[in-house]
Point group: C2
Chain length 356, copies 2
Amino acid sequence: MSPARCAPRIWPSRTPAVPARRNDPAAAGPPLGEFGRIERFFKPLAAGFPGARGLADDAAVFGVPAGKELVVTTDAMVAGVHFLPDDHPADIAAKLLRTNLSDLAAMAAEPLAYTLVTALPRGLGEEWLAAFAAGLAADQERFGIALAGGDSVGTSGPITLSVTAFGLVPAGRAVPRWGGRAGDCLFVTGTIGDATLGLDIALGRRVVEDVAVRESLLARLRRPDPRTTLGPRLAGLATAMLDVSDGLVADLGHLCAESGLSAVVEAAKVPLSPAARALAGGDSAVLARLLTGGDDYELLFSAPAGARPALQDLALRTGVPVTGIGRLEAGEAGAVTVLDAGGAPLALPRRGWEHF
Amino acid sequence: MSPARCAPRIWPSRTPAVPARRNDPAAAGPPLGEFGRIERFFKPLAAGFPGARGLADDAAVFGVPAGKELVVTTDAMVAGVHFLPDDHPADIAAKLLRTNLSDLAAMAAEPLAYTLVTALPRGLGEEWLAAFAAGLAADQERFGIALAGGDSVGTSGPITLSVTAFGLVPAGRAVPRWGGRAGDCLFVTGTIGDATLGLDIALGRRVVEDVAVRESLLARLRRPDPRTTLGPRLAGLATAMLDVSDGLVADLGHLCAESGLSAVVEAAKVPLSPAARALAGGDSAVLARLLTGGDDYELLFSAPAGARPALQDLALRTGVPVTGIGRLEAGEAGAVTVLDAGGAPLALPRRGWEHF
């Protein structure tokens, strides 16, 4: 599927403005202690979900509707590893929640609720927690999800956060990583590589003079846009799916390995934002970095060629660009070949980001 | 309910032997990386739970049977805060899983599965992880639970672990903290204060010459015994319930606060192990410490006096001692009075353990 045949390209697509930094004046005064913090910052986040039992019980309790299955995913983030220590707490909250929502979308699940574990340095002020909670509240409203429970502990180490997110999918309709078939086309949502450029900017490795471009790339790093609207609609269309977190090539390798297939990607078809295209400027080393940098949180999926009209319709209706980038083939399981514009294999120094 | 009327006292009750320390020879060789660690240590733990999808997908997927509700709880532990850095990894695994199972029991839920987040220092060897995984495997078999998913990240800080545990309860039958009624009797399972003494021993604050006594108290600290068999059977009998983690008095305060009532406890009725009774030796300051020390992971619940015969029967059938210790009363919500043997209020320097 070429971009022209597939869907209008919307850029920047739903990228939210970074909210004004906010200090909660109510957070002044003596330290609250664990129960005070739960009362002030977390109970309001659970108000919309009866199963949270007001965070006043030992556990959350909720049912799963007949004909549905529960989808459960967990992602953790550590300061200095997954975010920068001076990132705004609301951005950290958004990234934490959205990386989990992206996993739900990659299973074709609708978001339901989440639990939160915070391990915070004792010296971290309540202003930080107030801004973090405000970020969660904003995203709860945006994505229709609520806090179901959690735990708060102190740590002598860096800020460590994890979310376990719950979603619902019609029984038997979750899209696995392993359903790809030889001959299926490969599709990706949105654009690839912007978060890698955003990280370069955040680390001072790259200077981008244009404020709007710089901010849009930083936003892609800090506030990924999980495809929660499109993902559930891909049940029955996508044969295999995951979200791109470690890098397009690495994650495609996972999809291929689980499907027992190999893949060929045409680099020229991989959707880049205008900013990424301008910054790459035809440099194949930069392009290779964008395809392996990760943190994209776009959906990568396989589907038969016959699904193209339905995908085009879905892309139009959801406003999420969907682009064909290659195909699955019989061959060495997990092998990914990226071809440059001339049809030669692109040199990739690495496939993606390893966590240890 | 006096101990004599209630159930035979079994001591040490189901306290497991500390397993031999085991180094996995397969853990030698070059570092495995994140995917290698998942493959070797975590995938085997998920083999018994189809919903884990072999840890090969973006999320776990499972149904909840008709007529049941899902119960979800999360507990986190940080080295140096919730366990001692040189504790055996299998003990850490047991405590992590069991504190969560205790929360499920306190809701009257049967254990189903769990997700695990590990944030581990990069220098921590694979022998540690092998022993930790072996501890999880042993407890999975013991409690009939399996790994459903998780995340593994690196950290520059201390070992940080969290579990989100899932249980099932008949719809509408989860026992809340807030259902207590004035006049209800208060009951507690097992014995109180042993983990506090175990912590004293572990920290070198107390010397206990008798090896069997010392080991049994340390085991109560390191390997709590969640009441997973009794807990689900208390649905319909207990009006309010929680598990004792912060300290008997503090947690009873929570039950009272949520129920809008006060409580009176007779200190002489609080069940102590022979070891704790000998070490307390009638010293009311030591007794006060045992009642406020925490880490007991016993069930504390209220029930009408008419439930005594049913409770006695359950205690006999499950082998879990159940002891009446006091009653709920109308009065200041959350107030707890502990009376000594002479009927005078016992001085309590604190109610329990605050996490920050």
